[in-house]
Amino acid sequence: MIETRNINFYYGDFHAIKNISIAIKPNTITAFIGPSGCGKSTFLRLFNRMNDLIENTRLEGECLIDGKNIYEKSTDVDALRKRVGMVFQKPNPFPKTIFENVAYGLRVNDMGDKHFIKQRVEESLQAAALWDEVKDKLQKSAYELSGGQQQRLCIARALAVAPSVILMDEPASALDPISTSKIEELVHELKQHYTIVIVTHNMQQAARVSDNTGFFMHGELVEYSDTKKMFLNPDKESTQNYITGRFG
C-alpha cells in the first residue's frame, strides 16, 4: 500500500509536483501517463527517495508505504530501496557478469550464503523470463545481451532482493516492439506477487498492462481512476484531449 498526502516537490524554484494525494493498492499495476516534463517520473522517484540524489531539491507532504512515512528522519533509506525496487528507462546493467548483476542486491544487503544466492539468482532470472536464454552464459558480461534481454536482467536484478513494490520508469521506451511485448507480458505476470507502478509515455501500453491509471500534466495529477474508465470515459476534458490526440 502506497499513499501520498499533499506532496509538493521543488527543483530549486521550479514547482515540479503540485499537491498530489494518491493511494495505490497492493498487487495492482498502476500506470502514470502524461506529456514529457509533466512530473510523472519525478513522482515515481519519490517512492524510493531517488530524488534525494539530486541537489537543491525540496519536498513537502507525506509519502506512506505500508503506513509509515518514508520521509521521516528515522527512515533507513537503504532498507527502503531494498523494499521498493526500481527498473530504469534505459537498461543499466553493471559492467559485471550476468550472475553478478542479479546477485548484486543480495550481496550488498548481506542476504544469505553462496548456495542461497545461487538459487535466488536462478529464481529471479526465471521470474524475469530470462533464465532459458542465459542459463548457459551466466559468467558472460551482461553487455553481451541484447537491449531487451538487458532490461529483463535489470528486472531480475530488482526481483532478487524480494521487494514488495517495483517502480518502472518507462521500462520499454528504449526497446524494439518485440522486446517491449515481452516486458509487458512479464509485468503482467509479476502482478501476482508485487505492487507495480509504471511510468510510460505510451498510452497503448498503459491501457494494455495497468489496472489503474493516473494522468499527469504540469506537475498535477489531473485524473486518477480505473484504466478502462480512464480510456473509455475520462472525467476531465484535458485527459480526453491527451488520449485522443495521441490515439488520433
Binding site: 524510493n48 531517488m50 540524489l53 541537489e55 537503504d78 532498507a79 527502503l80 530501496r81 531494498k82 523494499r83 525496487g85 526500481m86 530504469f88 534505459k90 543499466n92 546493467p93 553493471f94 559492467p95 559485471k96 548484486y104 542486491g105 550481496r107 550488498v108 544487503n109 558480461s141 551482461a142 553487455y143 541484447s146 537491449g147 538487458q150 535489470c154 536484478r157 530488482a158 532482493v161
Partner: protein, 404 residues
C-alpha cells in the same frame, strides 16, 4: 573571375602541402630523437675500456696480453699486487704513470715538446719486466721490448649488468648502470606506493563525498599544484623534507631515496587526483542509481560499481604517473644525495638515471665514452617511458565490458 578561382585553388593546395609537411615534421621529430639518442649512445660500444686516449703497456716478456677492467681496477687500487695473481709470472706489479716519468727524467732531457719522451719511456719499460705503464697514446713508448696490452671495447654486458658507475675513474672508467636503474626504480616505485592510495582516496573524496562548493574550490588549486615546476618542488624538498627526514629518522643525512620518493609522491598527487577524479566522475549516473536503487549504501556503490567502472581510467593514470616519476629529474636530483651505489635500503642516498644525466653531462667531453654512456642512459629512459606510455594507451583503450 576565372583568375581568382585559380589563385584560390593554388592557395588551397599550397596550404594542404604546408600542413602535411608540418604534420610530417612533428611525426618525424620523435624518430629523430630516437635516432640521435641511439647513435650517440651505441657508439659507447666502440670505445675501448681503458680511459680514452690512454693505453696500458708492459714489458714484451710479460706473458699477460690483456687485462679485464676489473683486474685493472684492482691493480690500481693495490688489491692485486703480484702478476701471478692474474696468471703472470711471479713478480710485484710496478705501476708507472706518466707523471712518474718527470721524476725520473729532468724536463730538459725530454726534448722540445717532449719529443724524446716516447723513446725514454720505451727504455724505462725495457728495464723492468714487472712494470705496468698507463700512458697517453700520444707518447706511446717506442722500443722492441714494449708491448701494448690488447684493449677490448666496452661490452654491452658490462654496461647493462655492471654494478659500478665510476665514469671518471682512471685508468678504466666503469659504466655499470645497475645502481642507476635500480635507484630510479626504487625511488619511483616507493613514490607510487605512497601516492597511489592517498591520491585515490582524495579522488574518491572529491568526486563522491565533497560538496559542489568544496570541489569548485579544491579542483583549481590541485590543477595549479600539478603545474608548479619541479625545481620548485625540489627546492621545497631540500629546505623542508631533507632536514625533517634527517631529524625524525635520526639519519646521518636527510638526502635519501625515501626523501626522493616522498617528494615525488607529493608531486604526483595532483596529477593522480585529477585524472582519477575525472575517471570516477565519468561513471554514468545510471550505474550509481541502479546500485542505490538496490538498497546498496553509497560506500557499497562506490567500491562495487563506481571504482570498477573507472578502473581503466585509473590504471592509465597510475601508469602515466610511473612514467612521470621515472623521468623526473630536477626534484629528485636535489633531494636524493646522488650516490651512485647499489641501493640496499630506502634510507640511503641513491642516484637516478635522469639525475645522473643532468649532473654529469655538463662535465663529460662531447663524443667521449662518458658522454656516450650518458646518452645510452637517455636511451634506457626513453625505452622505459615508451613502454609505459604504450601500455597506458592500451589500458585506457581497453574497456572490460563494452555496452552495445
Amino acid at each position: 573571375m576565372q583568375k581568382k578561382k585559380i589563385i584560390r585553388r593554388i592557395l588551397d593546395k599550397t596550404t594542404e602541402y604546408l600542413l602535411t609537411f608540418s604534420g610530417a615534421i612533428t611525426g618525424i621529430a620523435i624518430v629523430f630523437i630516437t635516432i640521435f639518442l641511439f647513435t650517440e649512445g651505441a657508439a659507447l660500444f666502440k670505445s675501448p675500456e681503458v680511459e680514452q686516449g690512454y693505453e696500458l703497456y708492459v714489458h714484451a716478456q710479460n706473458p699477460i696480453n690483456t687485462l679485464s677492467p676489473a683486474e685493472t681496477k684492482k691493480i690500481f687500487d693495490s688489491e692485486i699486487t703480484n702478476w701471478k695473481d692474474i696468471g703472470g709470472k711471479d713478480g710485484e706489479i710496478k705501476i708507472f704513470r706518466i707523471d712518474d716519468a718527470f721524476s725520473v727524467y729532468p724536463e730538459d732531457e725530454l726534448g722540445e715538446n717532449y719529443a724524446l719522451l716516447p723513446q725514454k719511456l720505451g727504455e724505462l719499460i725495457a728495464q723492468d719486466e714487472n712494470i705496468l705503464a698507463f700512458l697517453p697514446k700520444q707518447y706511446a713508448p717506442i722500443g722492441s721490448s714494449v708491448k701494448a696490452l690488447v684493449s677490448h671495447n666496452i661490452q654491452p654486458s658490462d654496461y647493462f649488468l655492471g654494478k659500478e658507475w665510476m665514469p671518471t675513474a682512471t685508468p678504466v672508467p666503469f659504466f655499470g648502470v645497475m645502481p642507476l636503474v635500480l635507484g630510479t626504480l626504487l625511488v619511483s616505485i616507493v613514490a607510487l606506493i605512497i601516492a597511489l592510495p592517498l591520491g585515490l582516496g582524495v579522488a574518491i573524496y572529491l568526486s563522491e563525498l565533497a560538496s559542489e562548493k568544496q570541489r569548485r574550490l579544491l579542483k583549481p588549486v590541485i590543477e595549479l599544484l600539478a603545474g608548479i615546476p619541479s625545481v620548485v618542488y625540489g627546492f621545497f624538498g631540500l629546505v623542508v623534507l631533507v632536514p625533517a627526514i634527517q631529524k625524525s629518522l635520526h639519519l646521518p643525512v636527510g638526502e635519501t631515496a625515501f626523501t626522493g620518493s616522498l617528494l615525488l609522491a607529493i608531486m604526483a598527487l595532483p596529477t593522480i587526483i585529477s585524472v582519477a577524479e575525472d575517471a570516477l566522475r565519468n561513471t554514468p549516473r545510471a550505474m550509481r542509481e541502479a546500485s542505490l536503487a538496490m538498497g546498496a549504501t553509497q560506500w557499497q556503490t562506490i567500491y562495487r560499481v563506481v571504482v570498477p567502472y573507472a578502473k581503466s581510467g585509473i590504471s592509465a593514470a597510475v601508469v602515466l604517473g610511473i612514467g612521470r616519476a621515472i623521468g623526473e629529474t630536477m626534484a629528485v636530483m636535489m633531494v636524493t644525495g646522488n650516490a651512485a651505489v647499489m641501493p640496499h635500503s630506502i634510507f640511503q642516498s641513491v642516484r637516478t638515471i635522469p639525475a645522473t644525466i643532468a649532473a654529469e653531462l655538463g662535465e663529460a667531453p662531447a663524443g667521449g665514452p662518458h658522454y656516450q654512456a650518458l646518452f645510452l642512459l637517455g636511451c634506457i629512459l626513453f625505452v622505459f617511458t615508451m613502454i609505459i606510455s604504450i601500455s597506458a594507451e592500451i589500458i585506457s583503450k581497453k574497456k572490460n565490458y563494452k555496452p552495445h
